[in-house]
Amino acid sequence: MTTKTTLLITKDPSHPLAYVALRYAKALLNETDENKKPTLQLFFYADSAHLANRLRWQSADQLDLTQQWQALARKHGLALPVCVSTALSRGVSDSENSARHQLTGDNLADGFTLVGLSELAMMLQDDNRLIAF
């Protein structure tokens, strides 16, 4: 039976659980038994909003989780929604929100979208499984 799984990711990209979340998502999506394959939904909240900053630099020997999530989303047609208020409070903005809040420039990484927290509440309306990282 196909189930619906929502991953709520809150940890900073430097936190070990941020990497575990990615591994978990990959494992779920690589499930070969179609009957067990879940519908996966993602939501980035709090410190995980740093993942959506395309200007976040890190040394070459570190895994780039932003690129990893982007690649996974492209491969499996996943949305990468980020809570808009947690993103803005960490200096991550798209052009629309920059215009609305009189901010100069934007830095939202490709594939990520800024959404309201109500999106998460609605994801959880249906009978599904919530896993937090």
Partner: protein, 107 residues
């Protein structure tokens, strides 16, 4: 969905984001229980902190009083807070079946 959201970090942003998540989920009909750990007591005592005002409004969201740790500081805290805020707080039950909650989130 029934959730326990624990606020354990003594920063304005973390406590605000945890509480905002709780209030939003409650607005959409989810059952949310807040637990306020000692590190956020300082924020609760600041009338201008967002956490202070949000906890005051728990009843408006049909949320139960937030749980406090079972220790002497919780008793002291409820004694010094305004009545309308103290009324939204209660000591954590002696026995909790964590399996009653589908997920436990910490901020």
């Amino acid at each position: 969905m029934k959730l326990l959201i624990q606020l354990r970090t003594a920063t304005e942003m973390a406590s605000y984001e945890g509480c905002a998540l709780a209030l939003t989920l409650a607005t959409f009909g989810h059952e949310v229980q807040l637990y306020l750990d000692a590190p956020v007591f300082g924020l609760l005592m600041q009338p201008k902190a967002r956490l202070h005002g949000m906890i005051q409004s728990l009843e408006l969201y049909d949320m139960p009083p937030a749980w406090l740790p079972e220790d002497v500081f919780s008793g002291w805290l409820t004694g010094v807070l305004p009545d309308d805020l103290a009324g939204q707080l209660t000591l954590v039950p002696e026995v909790i079946n964590i399996n009653d909650f589908q997920q436990v989130l910490s901020f």
